[in-house]
Amino acid sequence: MSVGLRAVEWNRQKLAYDAILLVCTALYIAGYVLIGYSTQPPEKLPDAIDLWIRATGSCAFFMLTVILCIGPLARLDRRFLPLLYNRRHFGVLTFLVALVHFAFMLDWYVAQDALPNLAAELTKWPDYAKFIDFPFKALGLAALLILFLLAATSHDFWLMVLTPRVWKFIHMGVYAAYALVVMHVALGHMQDERSPLVPLMLGGGFGIVAALHLIAGWRERKLDRSVAAGDRWLKVGPPASIPDKSARIVSAKGGERIAVFRDGNQVGAVTNVCAHQNGPLGEGRIIDGCITCPWHGYQYRLADGCAPPPFDEKLVTFRVRLERGLIEVDPRPLPPGTPAAIVVS
């Protein structure tokens, strides 16, 4: 959908998504601070600031944990796809919460007229060779810089400039940011706080994220390995084995996956990789006569892989044929936008 750079289009779903995000974030932070004030009222200003540091820091950690769960969850169960739709706004909000956490940390030093201490802490080079006394704030700062880079390049403008492949690679930096955040907490707050809640939440959060990614990766590996090799044409199955208005995905050896769609009696094959953000097209459906990406709703015609006018994205297509009652696909890609769908009786 790129006849030119278009401003972000707001729709009801995006507004609802963002409203829920903002309300949940505000409720978490306000709840944390209120509970803190009621159970152990801060005696001095630095104690009060410390409460806000913990509220915003833990909030950013939970938000990042949820964000990293969305991708594998959506791959394991389609019901989580709506969460993926506006994940970028979730990411930007997480960066903003982390930025507020950083601002409160600076305020904590300023309130005690001890800002030079922070600089001294960060430039105490021998401590970087230690494990327990490692300057954990440097880890948080590095994570914040990565989150800034990701938030700053989150708009589709950068996706277009950098190309989806490079953009995706850069945005995988969120894994490094999460690892830095986990160690920031483990070497910082967890060293002072004796409550078992901190290691439980830290280990639990990271454990869930890692487990989901490992399970999703293992499932994908199985699919990548089930490659029909040998024949030049890949067997898909009888036309009826492809669910109407949906696809079956086949893999060519060493190549990208191919999504074979059926819309009534029309069968066509396109690359499984969406031109927008490399989303898995084959997991989408045909809506309004167009293949619709499950991630962000980008659409392409089944007949030729072209986005409907006025948009100009084109997908690589593949030749299909009906041979002895079976749909077969030629894994050699045709130039993007080449008509290749067939009508089967």
Binding site: I132, V182, M183, M190, Q191, G207, A210, E256, R257, N278
Partner: protein, 54 residues
């Protein structure tokens, strides 16, 4: 997702999971014992305590 992207994921996550699990476990194992006010009082040398009372 492209094949390269999927392959990268399959390499990154096991490495990250092991490294971070080890890091958190070590940070938990090596953290210093809590400072206890009563312990400090018990550790006060008797000589000092006598000086203070005398």
């Amino acid at each position: 997702m492209t094949r390269t992207h999927r392959s990268l994921h399959r390499i990154v996550w096991p490495v990250l999971a092991i490294a971070i699990a080890l890091g958190v476990a070590l940070a938990l194992w090596l953290r210093p014992p809590p400072e206890d006010a009563d312990d400090d009082a018990r550790l006060t040398p008797p000589a000092i305590a006598l000086e203070q009372t005398g």
